[in-house]
């Protein structure tokens, strides 16, 4: 047994790829000797050397821009942004270059980069340390957006992301970095980057979520089950490209759907999922698709953050509402 937390699974996946592929390089702010502010890269510099795992100067556009230059030369950067809230200085490089290089050159150059960033709220962090803005990246053609919600999926998806020849925004739900441990054998087996995970089956309602919110969603499903409501629970995991078919199949079965995410509601990822359900499964719906999400406000400072976060109760209330139709 190899019981790991999510953050340790991230570390194990990076280590696996560092060991097996000399083109993999790991860098960012404080990822070297310090092993990352969340310890995601702990001990990697010691194990693989300073030329494989290293700190950069403090500049995010630089981190992204370097990654692009490196990757077009065949390196496979695994670059960390210390928090998702600090990725924005790099937005230009990510959106205008990393996402486009393959298309722009008709395949001549491409960018096998993983941009890692811890994200999400609930750990009482200062301002800008609790963002959930996956939707911004999901809108950009050429990017992949991947969010694991368990140690096993963190390991398998990160392996896949590093091996994938295109840029991947890999967002790590830091609230659950150390929430649970799972047996995560270091077997080098990647998970697919284009498929949702069905975590639980039921025929009454479809619950769709990702990241840290999977935990509230699963708890809600368990409590609903006691109420006699059986939920299909889907971990989207690969936000872009989106595996809508798994979601549609479920909704066609259940006729009801509640989408749960931590990000602000409006123009969030939930909107796209709801829109596609409306487009492709309208006549299967017994009730409107509900979204249980963060409010359309800036993530509050931590004293009030719990009032922002979707809760098990809110999810259950939304499902109950859905069942009334």
């Amino acid at each position: 047994m190899n019981e790991l937390t999510l953050v340790d699974a991230v570390n194990q996946a990076i280590a696996h790829e560092l060991a097996s592929d000399p083109d993999v390089v790991v860098f960012g702010e404080d990822v070297g000797k310090n092993g990352g502010v969340f310890r995601a890269t702990a001990n990697l510099q010691d194990r693989f050397g300073e030329n494989r795992v290293f700190d950069t100067p403090l500049a995010e556009s630089m981190i992204a821009g370097l990654s692009i230059g490196m990757s077009t030369q065949g390196l496979k950067p695994v670059a960390e942004f210390q928090f998702l809230g600090f990725i924005y200085p790099a937005f230009n490089q990510i959106v205008n270059h990393a996402a486009r290089m393959r298309n722009r050159t008709r395949g001549r150059l491409h960018c096998p980069i993983v941009f890692r960033a811890p994200f999400g709220g609930g750990i009482h962090a200062p301002e800008h340390h609790s963002e959930s803005t996956e939707a911004l990246f999901a809108h950009i053609p050429g990017l992949r957006v991947v969010i694991p919600s368990s140690p096993v999926r963190a390991y398998g998806l990160l392996l896949a992301a590093i091996r994938n020849p295109d840029p991947v925004i890999f967002l790590e739900p830091k609230r659950i970095y150390r929430l649970v441990k799972q047996d995560v054998p270091d077997n080098g087996e990647a998970l697919p980057l284009d498929a949702c995970f069905v975590l639980r089956e039921g025929s009454d309602v479809t619950l769709v979520s990702w990241g840290a919110m999977m935990h509230e969603t699963l708890q809600a499903a368990n409590q609903l089950s006691e109420q006699g409501i059986q939920a299909d629970v889907i971990d989207v995991a690969t936000i872009k490209p989106l595996d809508i078919d798994t979601i549609l199949n479920s909704v066609e079965k259940t006729g009801r759907c509640v989408i749960v995410h931590e990000a602000a509601r409006s123009f969030g990822v939930g909107a796209e999922i709801a829109a596609q359900i409306g487009e492709k499964a309208l006549f299967s719906l017994h009730a409107p698709v509900q979204r249980v999400t963060g409010f359309d406000i800036t993530m509050p400072y931590f004293k009030l953050e719990k009032h922002y976060m979707p809760s098990v109760e809110k999810i259950i209330a939304a499902v109950n509402h859905t069942m009334e139709f």
Binding site: D30, N34, G85, A125, H128, H129, I297, P300, Y301, K303
Partner: protein
């Protein structure tokens, strides 16, 4: 080859580590009130800072960034500014903020996860400390533009760590400040570390001060643990800006005697003896030695000051721990001057949910 341009970067220190003057001191150094006030601020801030860490350790505050060992620079910055100037600080400048009428309570509130800590009841214009590194430099330049535009006699001052000088925003701010001769002063707290990244890994520059050369104006390096050098050079830079003679970059050499924040464990990446050595250079001891030497200070005054500072902090902590929770509608009410329709609904939901 001909020489197209030549530059020099000067270094200034007045007080050696033992508090003895190295050279002739500027006249304010013999102004007892001024010097003692600077010292008091530093000591007060240290008491406040120590307490903040204690509050964090006991779960009564969030992650906190200590200013330990960097009090002189910040105190000098605050003291050199005028009330109507604007400060765009980074997150280790409590000594400056406090002198600019930001209350210790507000700073505790801020780190306690409460936006009201940015309300600055007695300071309408200063920016809250900026978390996205480097970004504040542009805000200062923008405020400085406004002063110039309105022909006001005001100056903007911004602070940043030496790590932050690697950010594009830092450079863009310097460049426009130079191009437009804005009344702004950039103060770099070069405390040798950016979390775990040492100064030497951040840039190949011999000095941080020379980064001003890229923007066509003066940069100067000072001993940031020397309260007299800090007060003098930052004061001069502010005066120069106020005169309309444009920006200055001041690099102050300090040392981060603390962990990066309470979430950090510096022992993972730096040697104890480096810290021990740096302790020899720290500013409070040095200032006290100077004040004692020139007869402005003695053990009695020190004892009284310690008691007073502790009392002040205790009073603030008392208030801090008894602050009423922010009304939940605050979550919504300050996003726009007028509440948009979609927020009306969501606001109602939160208020009802919390009943």
């Amino acid at each position: 080859m001909t020489t197209a341009a030549e530059f020099q970067i000067e270094y200034l220190q007045y007080l050696q580590a033992d508090g003895k003057a190295k050279s002739d001191l500027p006249s304010f150094a013999s102004d007892e009130t001024l010097m003692v006030n600077l010292y008091k601020t530093m000591v007060q801030v240290r008491a406040y800072d120590t307490k903040a860490i204690a509050l964090q350790r006991t779960g009564k505050m969030g992650t906190y960034a200590s200013t330990l060992g960097q009090e002189a620079l910040s105190a000098a910055t605050g003291a050199a500014m005028q009330k109507d100037d604007v400060f765009a600080p980074y997150y280790r400048d409590y000594a400056a903020q406090i002198q600019r009428s930001v209350s210790m309570l507000e700073i505790y509130q801020y780190w306690g996860g409460d936006e009201r800590g940015n309300c600055y009841q007695n300071n309408p214009h200063d920016f809250p400390m900026s978390v996205p590194i480097g970004s504040q430099c542009l805000h200062a330049a923008g405020a400085a533009f406004a002063f110039k535009y309105r022909k006001q006699n005001r100056v903007a001052v911004t602070t940043i760590g030496e790590g932050g000088t690697s950010e594009g925003d830092f450079y863009e701010a310097l460049n426009v400040a130079g191009a437009w001769k804005l009344p702004v002063v950039f103060v770099v707290n070069n405390n040798q570390w950016a979390i775990s990244v040492p100064r030497g890994s951040q840039t190949a520059c011999e000095t941080i001060a020379q980064k001003a050369i890229a923007a066509g104006f003066e940069g100067i390096q000072i001993d940031g643990n020397d309260i007299i050098a800090c007060r003098k050079i930052i004061g001069d830079a502010i005066d120069k800006a106020r005169r309309g003679d444009g920006p200055t970059l001041v690099e102050a050499i300090t040392y981060r005697l603390c962990d990066h924040t309470t979430a950090d464990d510096a022992s993972r990446y730096r040697e104890d003896n480096e810290v021990t050595n740096a302790q020899e250079l720290e500013p409070i001891k040095r200032t006290r030695a100077y004040l004692t030497d020139v007869g402005f200070w003695n053990d009695e005054k020190e004892a009284a000051l310690q008691v007073e500072c502790k009392k002040n902090v205790d009073a603030v902590v008392e208030q801090y721990l008894n602050i009423e929770q922010q009304p939940l509608e605050n979550l919504f009410d300050y996003h726009y001057a007028e509440l948009p329709a979609n927020l009306v609904e969501q606001r109602q939901e939160v208020i009802e949910g919390s009943l």
